[in-house]
Amino acid sequence: MLELIVISTLNGVLFGMLLFLLSSGLTVIFSMMGVLNFAHASFYMLGAFFGYQLTRWIGFWPALVIAPLLVGAIGMAVERYGLRNTHKHGHVAELLLTFGLAFAIEEIVSMIWGKSPMDYRVPQALDFSAFTIFSTNYPAYKMFMLAVSVLIFIALLIVLKRTRVGLIVQAALTHPSMVAHLGHNVGRVFMLVFGVGCALAGVAGVIAGPALVTQSDMAGLLGPILFVVIVFGGLGSLPGAFIASLVIGLVQTFAVALNGSLASLFGPLDPSFNATVLADIWNVTIAQIAPILPYVLLVLILIFRPMGLMGARET
């Protein structure tokens, strides 16, 4: 039992950190610009595919730097020529733009790289097990993912809260004309913020690509859960997203480890529903519903605390 608890905790933290890696960019864009970027998971996918291609050509480490820069550049172009024009029509137009973009990116990626999974491997330097606990190995690569997530969290917090750049960015959101009058180019600030957010998604893609499957439907797979993370954590709150990622990672992992069902709760008193429609609900184990638990959390938090765990405003 202790073994399962320790390992589940570790797995939960690792999965949670991956979620944070993915959702950090989304949170940054939302908190700074108020744009809910539906195409975020697509930028993550672009990062993975760029990472794969560049790893082929020049190796993993240069790819880890160049691929996010490329994704960031694409993001900036999207902001400059797309979002900036739709901004004046309000948030719905922006939302629809990113929504369409998500489909376009997916089609383009499958046109270029096909629909089969890519052979994107963990770099040689990190392909060993970092430590063994209860005879379960933990690959160094997962530790690397964990370290990168934590680094990004700290770096983002410091930049946003402790530097002049962060101040200007935050001010540009609430008082754009004032900031402009002070001599800052608000348009460029937004463009940079969007670029940085997309680049973060790109980093997540390059790093998660070898750990998960690099395939043209990977965006669709992780997209929904990212929204759960940022809504649960509070839209636009970086620490909130960090905590939410951990909570969701742990909840999902521990739920899988549990075998209980409503039937077993009653033990010998179980009123048998075997032949009825109820049997399905009655006998389903917690492990079976683990992957939908985050969405249940999403519904609950929206009912009882609509601003999310640490959000400042109502969603």
Partner: protein
């Protein structure tokens, strides 16, 4: 001006005549499978396979002089969409449809074709199933108009347990499957058949997880490890098998994997990445490195032209048997072809004889267990450019794969 009209009319008549004669000459087969969305990589592979097989038949003069043409119809693995596509095919004068991905789609199509044929005598449509393995399709839902060339999941489990019966090192088995009709039938069959053939084997875990929704299988692997299992049996396919194996290798889980679909798109790449050398077994009706020369020649020619490995030896059996049945019936009329197919014996691609059981239209054939890993010197074919390939481990003869059916078929 009059000249122009005459010329135009003449040209039009010629095109129309040409069009009609072409349609009469061509035998169209509607290929209803996903060509967009998540299942597209698999659907496209199947389409290429059928097109290759049609070319092969056409190069030898077609079926009774009719040129075979595969008409791709995208169903997005959606039963509703599949029926729309099937109707489209029927409206275009197609009398043969083939489909494989998704037993839910197959059940809808089987029902649709049966109803259509009852209501439209003389315009019958045959449905050739090459990969949907839910046992219900040839049991309580069986239909005269449906023929299945893939082994049903109960047949695969029968073959697999017949192999496991002879492996004494298997003591503790863990079952992990996708939570829908197919996964549930794999799990139920495994429990039933293992209990009958190896009562000493302990089932230490029985997991169902949601279909194609899991990104990280580490928690499941931790559970398998905690259970002390030495073998895992799974019917997972697509990313569910690739990610499962990946998580297992990351955690250093040392068990043997008995799978239905580890060879599907992405599976070999994942196994190679994980380094599970000859620890992942697959159950199929044919393997590239089987050693049977005609099959290996076919594989070589197929790979050279299509640039993928042959996932569906059963598709080869399906198309070749279709041709043989039409020639036996001396007609491409669906009713006559169906009657010719019933009970027909056929030499399969990978050698050995199979037969189409008359009672339920299930094809029985030799089944192979193979393991994935480093290749021996006489094994030329690797998978997905990994340098690893399938190595034959055991062959289960046709007779050892036969399972009873509850089908009560209504014949026209």
């Amino acid at each position: 001006m009059r000249k122009l009209i005459v010329a135009a009319t003449a040209a039009l008549t010629i095109t129309m005549l040409g069009g009609t004669s072409y349609a009469q000459d061509t035998l169209k087969i509607g290929y209803i499978d996903p060509l967009s969305g998540g299942g597209a990589s698999i659907g496209e592979g199947g389409l290429k396979t059928f097109q290759y097989l049609a070319d092969e038949i056409n190069a030898k003069g077609g079926i009774l002089g009719h040129k075979v043409e595969i008409v791709p119809l995208d169903n997005k693995v959606n039963p509703q969409e599949s029926l729309v596509q099937a109707q489209k095919a029927i409206d275009a004068g197609i009398h043969y449809i083939t489909q494989g991905n998704g037993s839910s789609v197959a059940a809808a199509l089987e029902d649709f074709v049966t109803k259509h044929n009852t209501r439209n005598p003389g315009k019958e449509v045959l449905y050739f199933n090459y990969a949907a393995v839910d046992p219900a399709l040839t049991n309580d839902k069986c239909s005269f108009w449906h023929f299945r060339w893939d082994a049903g999941s109960d047949i695969k489990m029968e073959a697999l347990t017949n192999y496991m019966k002879g492996v004494p090192s298997i003591k503790k088995v863990y079952l992990i499957n996708q939570d829908y009709s197919f996964g549930q039938s794999v799990r139920a069959d495994a429990r039933k058949m293992l209990a009958a053939k190896r009562p000493d084997v302990q089932i230490v875990g029985d997991e169902l997880h949601p279909l194609l929704k899991i990104t990280d299988f580490s928690p499941y692997i931790a559970k398998i490890k905690a259970s002390g299992a030495d073998s895992v049996v799974t019917g997972n396919w697509g990313q569910d098998i690739a990610l499962l194996l990946k998580a297992a290798a990351d955690a250093g889980l040392k068990v043997n994997w008995y799978t239905y679909y580890a060879g599907g798109a992405g599976g070999p790449t994942a196994i190679k990445q994980t380094g599970l050398d000859h620890q992942v077994f697959q159950i199929t009706e044919g393997i590239p490195n089987g050693g049977y020369q005609p099959a290996m020649d076919f594989e070589k020619a197929f790979r050279a032209k299509v640039n993928m490995s042959l996932w569906y030896p059963r598709a080869v059996n399906e198309m070749r048997m279709f041709k043989a049945a039409a020639e036996k019936a001396k007609s491409i009329d669906p009713v006559k072809v169906a009657q010719a197919l019933e009970g027909m014996k056929f030499e399969v691609l990978d050698g050995g004889e199979g037969f189409m059981r008359k009672d339920d239209h299930q094809f029985f054939q030799p089944i192979y267990i193979s393991s994935f890993g480093t290749l021996k010197s006489n094994e030329p074919f690797d998978e997905e450019k990994t340098g690893w390939g399938w190595h034959p481990v055991a062959k289960i003869d046709t007779q050892q794969t036969i399972v009873p059916t509850t089908c009560k078929m209504k014949r026209p």
